[in-house]
């Protein structure tokens, strides 16, 4: 008798791996097998484990882990560092190992005649039934190829296993080795039998820095985001993918103004910064960027807002001393609970890790304002591409929270100039304030201008400002001087000069 088969679109199940479900437009194709291929150290086993552990902890879906390489005991121990208590899940009947790791010395096993892997399939199916598993991970296929010599036979058997798992309604992850980061999908032609869905994990050495990425090569019949995305490993939580291009510009735009903390700057900006805007302050070392940050934070706390600052150039002590030199008591503000100062040396971790840390700090503290001093310090620890991704990822995140962000960027030259930071960020910031040294009459004086103020009129003058124990004081525009921004101020000819000149 013929049955009416209803053809439905492919549904997906969320992996629970942060960021991955965005890149994959909803997770892995349900009831199918996805090949996760990667070179040594690309976090394949972690992916396979996290697929199960998130399934258990977030979706209450039991999982079977088939290990061909590491003994279960090692996996239990290794995954402890991510706070996944596999042993407890095993006791609750949520996690079951099928131990296919090598147990016997090679010389105690001989192959005579034809065989198949029906025993393995029977064990996996038995395990699935035993705990009602919805997810299965097989890690990693290369180990089984090296144990049985006949790769054609093994490929055929793995295909049989993939088909059987599909019919059982479980979603499967199989991991496989790659020899090179950019080359054939996997060793032993593994992709030939699970061609439907392929995810590639990379651990690329780029300018002496390791950079992890994840790429969805294909999902047959389903949409996903294209290209490589940064991937990080966080102790205590596992993998985090950072979806950049999938970040949508859907945040609302506010007309509410907030104080910069300096009355004159508010005036120059046409009444203050917008509440949900990103402001870039650019200037050479010592021009007063950290001072603007201090005013910005103090202004926020004074009007009852919560403020968070990430400092990458100075220690807490330095930062607090600076602030008190300008009449702001950071220690007290922090004690009162409306300010949080986070200091890191940029070198302590990679940029992707910084991004993940900063995002979680923002989510935790829920500030109204975030300041970063300085973005340029972070540039040191990244490749140009990594830095660009970081800035875009961070800016989108901050805009998404609908909070104000103030970033500083250091220009490499004392006079004039732009920084790489500016080049990466200028189009996605709402406002840009330039601080410049102005050499006049044998003196270094300071000038400030609002270069850009999206959605508002603003002062076009370059104004002189001074710094004293009360902080910043903005004065009159420089008159009769040209070329300040270019770095070579020259007196412009005045009407008085003309006749006599």
């Amino acid at each position: 008798m013929l049955e009416n088969k209803i053809v439905t679109a492919i549904t997906k199940i969320r992996t629970g791996i942060p960021g991955f479900d965005e890149i994959s437009n909803g997770g892995l194709p349900q009831n199918r097998t996805t090949l996760v291929a990667g070179s040594a150290g690309s976090a394949k086993t972690l992916f396979a484990c996290e697929f199960l552990s998130r399934g258990i902890s977030e979706f209450d879906q039991p999982g079977v882990f088939v290990t061909f390489e590491e003994p279960p005991e090692d996996i239990r121990t290794n995954m402890k560092s991510f706070d996944w208590d596999i042993q407890a899940w095993e006791a609750q009947g949520k996690w079951l190992f099928v131990d296919a790791s090598p147990h016997f010395a090679d010389d105690s096993v001989t192959i005579v005649g034809r065989y198949d892997l029906a025993a393995l399939l029977a064990r996996i199916e038995h395990a699935i039934e035993k705990i009602g598993a919805r997810r299965v991970s097989l890690d990693s296929l290369g180990a089984i190829f090296s144990r049985f010599q006949d790769s054609t036979l093994i490929r055929g058997e793995l295909f049989r296993i993939a088909t059987a798992l599909k019919n059982r309604g479980v979603t499967t992850v199989m991991t496989a080795e790659r020899n090179a980061e950019y080359g054939p999908i996997a060793r032993y032609g593994v992709e030939e039998f699970v061609t439907d869905n392929v995810v590639i994990l990379r651990n690329v050495l780029e300018e002496e820095k390791r950079r992890r990425t994840v790429e969805i090569l294909k999902f047959r019949g389903a949409y996903h985001q294209k290209g490589e995305y940064p991937l990080t490993i966080q102790p205590g939580s596992g993998l985090t993918a950072i979806p950049l291009s999938s970040i949508q510009l859907k945040q609302r735009s506010s007309n509410v103004r907030i104080s910069s903390g300096v009355a004159e700057i508010n005036e120059m900006c046409g009444g203050g910064f917008f509440r949900d805007s990103v402001i870039l302050v650019s200037g050479a070392t010592g021009t007063g960027k950290t001072l603007i940050v201090t005013h910005f934070l103090n202004g926020g706390v004074t009007s009852g807002e919560r403020c968070l600052v990430f400092a990458f150039e100075e220690s807490r002590e330095q930062l607090f001393r600076n602030a008190s030199g300008w009449g702001v008591d950071f220690a007290k503000l922090e004690r009162d609970g409306n300010l949080k100062v986070v200091c890191f040396y940029p070198e302590v971790m990679g940029l992707e890790d910084h991004l993940v840390h900063m995002r979680s700090a923002i989510e935790e503290f829920k500030p109204n304002r975030v300041a970063i001093d300085s973005l340029s310090a972070l540039e040191r620890v990244a490749t140009p591409r990594g830095f660009r991704e970081f800035v875009i990822g961070l800016t989108s995140f901050i805009k998404h929270q609908e909070i104000a962000g103030l970033f500083t960027a250091t220009t490499p030259t004392l006079l004039g100039g732009t920084s790489v930071t500016e080049a990466h960020i200028s189009t996605i910031t709402d406002s840009i304030i330039l601080l410049r040294y102005v050499e006049m009459d044998g003196q270094m004086r300071r000038g400030m201008t609002v270069l850009k103020m999206r959605g508002s009129r603003h002062d076009k003058n370059i104004r002189e400002f001074t710094i004293d124990a009360d902080g910043m004081h903005v004065g009159d525009p420089f008159h009769n001087i040209n070329g300040i921004l270019a770095g070579n101020p020259v007196p412009s000819p005045t009407p008085n000069d003309l006749p006599t000149a």
Binding site: F104, T110, R114, Y115, E125
Partner: protein, 103 residues
Amino acid sequence: MAPCVLRLYLTGRTPRSEQALVNVRRLVSEFAIDPHELEVIDILEQPGLAEQENLLATPTLVKAIPPPVRRVIGDLSDIHAVAEALGLHTSSSPGEEDAHAGK
């Protein structure tokens, strides 16, 4: 002499399973493995035993006793190779296949 204990793990009653069973019987008779115990285990019926034995492939023949434990994977088509792998060489020279035929 302690009996030689052999376990043959199969997955269902497939032609390959039957072939392995025939071959293991030929093995014990031709090599005069006596006394012996032959356990035949269908892992579709007892998957737990496959788990215990860490089996991946079938058919698998395990020589549990006397030590050392040896395993042979496959339908055992070449019983001389099997005997060698199991370390079951006897003084009687193998090859006289008719001697115990029909057992």
